[in-house]
Subunit: 405 residues, 2 copies
Amino acid sequence: MTYDFQPVLPRGNGPWAHIDTRAITHNLEWVKRRVQSHAGVHSRVPRIWAVVKADAYGHGISHALSALWGADGLCVTTFNDVVLLRQCGWGKPILLLSLWGISETDLLDPSLGQLHVVADDTPQVEMIERWAQIAQHNRSKRSSLHVWVRAEGKLKTLGFQEEEYRSAFLRLRALADAGLLAEVGHLNHYAASEDAHALNLERQAFLQTTHGLSGPYCTGNSGALCGEGPGLLKETSEWLRCGLLLYGASALAPITGPELGLVPAMSLQARLLSVRQVRAGVTVGYGESYRAERDTFIGTVGIGYGHGVPRRLWQRGTVLAGHDGREVPLAGRVAMDCLTVDLGPDPIERVGDIMTIWGRAPNGTLLPVEKTAAACDTIAAALWTGLTSRVPLIAATSAQSQQAS
Amino acid sequence: MTYDFQPVLPRGNGPWAHIDTRAITHNLEWVKRRVQSHAGVHSRVPRIWAVVKADAYGHGISHALSALWGADGLCVTTFNDVVLLRQCGWGKPILLLSLWGISETDLLDPSLGQLHVVADDTPQVEMIERWAQIAQHNRSKRSSLHVWVRAEGKLKTLGFQEEEYRSAFLRLRALADAGLLAEVGHLNHYAASEDAHALNLERQAFLQTTHGLSGPYCTGNSGALCGEGPGLLKETSEWLRCGLLLYGASALAPITGPELGLVPAMSLQARLLSVRQVRAGVTVGYGESYRAERDTFIGTVGIGYGHGVPRRLWQRGTVLAGHDGREVPLAGRVAMDCLTVDLGPDPIERVGDIMTIWGRAPNGTLLPVEKTAAACDTIAAALWTGLTSRVPLIAATSAQSQQAS
C-alpha cells in the first residue's frame, strides 16, 4: 500500500492500527448512494446518522470525524462524546442513544447544539418534562432538543413496551406542540436485520406500535442497509443509522465488506520480532500448545491479547506476513505481548518486517477483518472495539481508498 | 463491601472497574512470605520483580505503583513505561523485558536509573556494545545498566538458542569485567510452570544452558510461585518475576486466588439500566439468541463487548446482581454497549443497581475472575488486560483487603 505520506510508526516492540480516513469517507458515500437508489423518485431520501459510538467502533472518534463531515448527523452513546464532538467543531445534529444518568441541567448547556436524545422509560420522560419547564423560563440558554421514543421491539432490552409506548409518545408530543421540543419521533432497533423476512415482521410490529402517531422515524443499522432493508423500510426511515459499514465491514456473513464495494478502514499491524527454526515434533508457546509437524520456522510477532487480539485466534487464525502479505497460520497460544506464527520451512520474511493481523499488508494484500472474526467465532465490531489503549491509532490514507473513491 | 471513602462513580450509562490497591499490597506480601518460607535458613531470599506490564495487567500502572512500593523492582515491556515509572518517582530497579526498537542513545538517558534490560539476539548484544563504548567516554551521563541474557527454552519465541547462548553471555560478561556493565545474568520463562514435573525438566535444561557461567538468575512467573516452584527453583532464583498473583488470581486452575489466600484487586461493575418482564417462549437480544423458558424478568446492564466483555460470555457466564450480589446468568448475546441477564420470575433488583461482572459485589460477595474466565474459555489476565479505554479505573480500598492484611 503506498501512502500519501509516510506514517511515523511507533518505536519499540508494540503494534499499531492504521486508520484510512479516506476509506471511511468512501464508505459513507457508498451508503448514501445505496439509500438514494432505493428511495423513489418522489420520496424523500433518508438522512444518515453516522454511528461513532465506542470511539468510532475503535477507529478513533477524531479520525472518524475528519472523514464524516458529509454525514447528516453523528450518533453516540455517551454524554462525554457529545461534548467532545462539539469541542471538535461538529455543528450538525448529534443523536445521543442513551439518557441514562443524564439530568435536566446537563441538557440546558447551549453548547450542545442540535441534540437528539432517546427516551427509554417513564423517568426519562419526566426528566425531559422538568427540562422543558426550566428551559421555558430560560429560553436563551437551552439547547434545541429533539426526542426519539424508543420502541422495545424484539430486543427486549431498552425502550417502551407496546402498551406504554403511546402514552409516553403523547406526553412528549404535548411538549412539542407547546413549542418546548423541536420534534418527537419514533426509534427502534432491529434484532435480526440480516434476514428480509424477519426484518419485515419487526417492521410491521414497529408500524403497529406507532400506528396513528405522527412524527418521523429513525431506524436502520448496517444489517438492514446491506440487505433488502433500504427498499423495505421506506415508511420508517426519515433517518437511518449506520455504523459497521462505515468502517468497511459487511453485516451479511460470509460476504465481506470489499465484496460489497466497501473499503476496510483499519489495518492492525505489528513487527516480526524474531524468526527461528524448530525441528519437527518440537512444541512452541505456553502450555506446549503447538507441535511442529515438520522442520519449520516460527515467527514471533509483537502483539498479543493485552492489545486486544482474542486468545482463541490461534486455533484457526492467520495473519499476513511481510510487505507482500503472505498468509501464514498462527502457531501456539497467543500471549499477553506476542503471538507466534508458522512461517513454513522456507521463509522470506525477516526480523523487523511488518505483520498484518487484519486489513491490508503494505503491498495492498487484504485479510478481511470478517475472516479474522470468523476464525475466532466473533464479529468485526468486537475485534475493532476490543483493541486496548496500548494500540496507537495512526491516520494514513492508502492508494487503495483513492482508487476506490 | 464498605469503602474507606465513598468512591465517585462515573455518571451516565457506562461501566467502571474498582481497583483495590490495598489488595495488591496484600498479595505482594503473600508472595514475599511464600518465597521466604521456601528459602533455606542460610540461603538468600530471592528478590521480587513485580510485573506491571500491560498497564499493570489492566489495573492501571499508577494505581499498581501506589501499592507496590515494597517490591524490589518493577518489570515492564515498553520503554515508555520505564520513563513513566521514573517520572512517578520509582527509584528502585526496573526490568525492561524487551530491547526491541531501543537504541544505544535511548539507554544513555541518566534519568533511567538502575535499568535492567534483556538481550534476545546478536543485534541487541551489538547495540549494548555500542552503548558501552559511548558510555565509557561519557561516564557522568550513562545510566547503570544490568543485562539479562534470555534463554529461548521451551517457548521458542524470544531469546538465545542453546548453541548461541554461551558466546552471547561471554561477550556481555567481558563488558561487565571491564566495568562497563553493572551485571550480566541469566533469564528464562517457563512454558509449563504449573506442573512440577514439566517445570523441573525446563529448569534442568536452563541449568545446562548456563552451566559453568557465573552470574545471577532471573526466572519465575506466577505459575511457578503458586505451585512447588519456590522450592524447586532455589538454584535459579536470585530474582523471581510475579504478575498474575499480585492482582489476586491463581495460576493453578481450578483453584482460585482467594482459595490460595490472595485478594482480588479488580471488581468490574456497571448499572442495571432496565428490568422488564418477558413471557415464556419470547426471544431476547440480537439474533434471537436467547429464548425465555418461563415467564421471567430480563435485566439490561450497561457494559458490552466494546468495554472488553467477551461476546462468548453469554453462553455460560453469570454476573452478581445488586448490592447483595445474587448470581444470575446472562441471557442473549453481549452487544457493544450492553448485556442482558435473566433475573428470574421474582427479581429484587431495581433499575440503577450495581451489577458486578467479576470481583466483589457491594456487600462483599465474590465472583472470582477465574470463574468468569472459565465461562468464556479464557484466562484472568486476558479479561483484565482486555478492558478498553472506555472503562475508567477507580481506586478504592475495601474492608475485605483490610481484614486480609
